[in-house]
Subunit: 480 residues, 2 copies
């Protein structure tokens, strides 16, 4: 047992009453900056009332530019400990990076995972993310034995999310094979083993724990490599059953697909189809699906994905770091495709760094600055147009009642400091454009998740304790 375990800071975040009333100096509503907006939050952390004229005594005023919190649709929390490692010399690839990642996995304990995830989630909040889709495949102990409590690792992720106060959509991933031919899992991969029935049992086990208003369970399939065809069908049945049993609006299903060219070649060789095409032909992909990466997608696949209503989960800094390639964002957006962002391996933990790199990839590929934006409102610029997708499509991909501050939606709000040098002199669309394109000095000052202020004045109340525990955990891991 590592010494870290003796000082867990696992109290759930919201000790305080969620219910409250605030007056936002400027709040993004649709595509306008509304002034002096009175927002009332109910006990479940949702917006109960919103009016643009009221002030009222005893109603604290929130200065700055307030915008919806950004959903992060794709996270492997434990990889935060690896960020900046495996940037080795000489020949290197996605696959050699994966070897470093696996070697590191052989040492990672549940305490470590909790400490790393808590640090990550605090960093996400401070940067403007308010909920995270945790694509979780680290289910077992080193060697592949289950923990005494098979839900151990999932509970640690939940504990970390509560410590930080971030909204959590936890997705235990099905992972059964080491390749398209059903190859057995090799050494390090044995920690990932999970079949559809196991995932369904994990859902049942955890249902009671995921009791807070900002805690949900959803499904993940690691990839076409790791999930055999029969399992894909079985997961379809299980997800359908959950929906009939009362899952409001459908349960999200996430899958990695077409990230690497090698994967595309193998899929064509084994299954006579490109990965996205094969998936669309063999699974009921609909608007609750999130196709993560989808980097190597052709025009026909783009049109089909756009038509399905599924969201593409783009992770620009990770995809660049791993040399995956550039997703064809321009053509996909013009085809009406939905896309959101995730931080995946967490070389960045910032929504605006992800969006910036996404747009820069598009501009470099096309040698043009022609924007995605349209109209005359606050979302008309390139930054606003990208954020609009991250908010709306990200909320959809996670089955999250977020992405806008409206009656009935969650009170997930990020407040940008108006006087910050990144935003000084800005108004209208230029506020969001400057946040995205000039915001590497983070102007996020306050962050509310489901009615709770978790970041005030740029500080998270628990950041020192969480960072200390993270430092101890990564120190003990003794990296090469």
């Amino acid at each position: 047992m590592s010494p870290v375990a003796r000082s867990p800071a696992r109290e759930p975040w919201p000790h305080r009453e969620r219910r409250g009333v605030w007056r936002f100096e400027r709040l993004l509503v649709d595509d306008r900056w509304e002034r002096d907006v009175r927002v009332e939050v109910d006990a479940g952390g949702r917006v109960a009332a919103l009016e643009t004229t009221g002030t009222g005594p005893g109603c604290p005023r929130v200065a700055g530019w307030a915008v919806p919190g950004v959903p992060n649709v794709h996270s492997h929390a434990f990889q935060r400990a690896l960020a900046g490692l495996a940037e080795g010399r000489g020949p290197d690839s996605f696959w050699s990076w994966r070897e470093v990642m696996y070697a590191f996995l052989d040492r990672l304990t549940p305490d470590d995972v909790e400490a790393v995830a808590a640090q990550l989630y605090v960093e996400m909040l401070k940067a403007g993310f308010t909920c995270v889709g945790e694509f979780h495949y680290l289910h077992r102990a080193p060697g592949g034995a289950p923990y005494d409590d098979p839900a151990e690792m999932s509970r640690r992720i939940l504990a970390a999310a509560r410590t930080a106060g971030i909204g959590l959509v936890h997705m235990p991933a099905v992972y059964e094979a080491g390749g398209f031919g059903g190859e057995p899992l090799d050494g390090s991969q044995r920690r990932f083993r999970m079949d559809p029935e196991g995932a369904a049992r994990l859902h049942e086990t955890l249902a009671g724990d995921f009791s807070g208003p900002g805690e949900r369970l959803a499904w993940a399939l690691h990839s076409l490599r790791a999930v055999p065809r029969e399992s894909l069908a079985r997961i379809g049945e299980l997800v359908g059953g959950q929906r009939e049993a009362g899952g409001a609006g459908g349960v999200p299903v996430h899958i990695h697909v077409a990230e690497q060219e090698q994967e595309v070649r193998e899929c064509i060789a084994r299954r006579q189809a490109r990965p996205v095409n094969w998936l669309l032909a063999h699974a009921p992909v609909h608007e609750r699906w999130c196709l993560v990466h989808a980097t190597h997608i052709d025009r026909e696949e783009m049109a089909a994905v756009a038509g399905s209503g599924a969201v593409v989960g783009l992770c620009p800094t990770t995809e660049a770091n791993l040399g995956d390639g550039l997703f064809p964002l321009g053509p996909f957006a013009r085809a009406g495709g939905r896309f959101a962002i995730g931080t995946d391996s967490h070389v960045s933990r910032s929504p605006v760094e992800e969006l910036r790199l996404l747009e820069y990839g598009r501009r470099l590929a096309t040698r043009s600055r022609a924007g995605l934006g349209s109209g005359d409102g606050v979302l008309a610029g390139a930054g606003g147009a990208l954020l609009a997708h991250a908010w709306a499509d990200g909320s959809r991909a996670l089955g999250w009642a977020g992405g806008e501050v409206k009656i009935g939606k969650r009170a997930d709000v990020v407040v940008l400091e108006a006087g910050h040098p990144a935003l000084a002199g800005r108004a209208g669309a230029a506020v969001l454009d400057s946040w995205v394109f000039s915001g590497s000095d983070n102007p996020v000052r306050d962050v509310m998740v489901g009615g709770e202020w978790v970041v005030r004045g740029g500080r998270h109340e628990r950041e020192e304790a969480v960072a200390r525990r993270f430092g101890e955990a990564v120190g003990n891991l003794r990296f090469p």
Copy 2:
């Protein structure tokens, strides 16, 4: 006169004695982390003694990972006020961005420029840059009349650098024509007019002002578009004359070249050669030259530039933001080419964001992670290899005695916080790799420029006053 002018904070930075002795807990020396290094700085801000064993009483200890300050080889300071603007909707290009920039120029006063530059330089220091090459072409008043003091704008840049305490290589740019055919300057461009004789006079006028140990003058040619062939020859004579008159090691000469495809097409049409080839054939390009951008360069040109010893000044975030294209870094580095980084239009003010994007562009273009690094030392990783170029080639491009902390070199030092979450648990090459690839939460804690601590504990002593003045200036500019 704007109200800003009434409260200038133009005291030169170094009020204090530069001479001093410090003991660095860990200092990068060659490619090793040396422990407990005693560094003595002389009154000129240079390292007078360096020993790895001494401690000595009364010698303050500096905790953290200390590395050389990073040179920023390319800045247009006034553009900081525009960062995040001009990210418009619909069809857009480098040339439409330039229109927004020009319109904004029609309002900019010397007070504004000083306020904007001071803010920019403070931001640069806090991110790890310790000297800046200011490629200065905003010489005249709106409309094109000279200021009563033709050196007005240059003096404002110097004042801003002194306020911030950053090292400055000021390069008044020659700018005479609006195109390859010698077209006259149009409306906004009239503020830029400067011929070779004017630049030489400006050098003479300013020689006495650039008296501090961290203040130098050098040459800039705006571009092949803006500098006629005769002027190129005349500048060669003037630069040669300065060198004979005692310029130690040669005076740097910087030029924008081959940034945009349209520029390449025009150069071929007018001069029957690609821009880099034409420049190499018509100017004595040598190791004090810096070719800024050189984005559109072919194999033959790469070999010739590498052979000349000139440095390519890459500005990855600006080049991405403007959709310029990707410089072929891999082939150029393999040809032995020298490259350094600049922040140009200042959509980023961080050396690691520039290097990160530079490397990501390379990985995306090649769909590979094969690194530039080699060897087994601290510089072996991708982050260290990139920093090594920024330090050595950046110092060369600016004629700056920096890029390493050694006897006789400037005491320009950046200290990274060892306990920062971006660096926790890191050692060896992973420190620099994590700074570059995982350092969007800035771990820079202390920054010394020429023996002066200008940033302590992540704060610049003047940051509030400088930001206030910047906020007033951009507020008064009333952006669209």
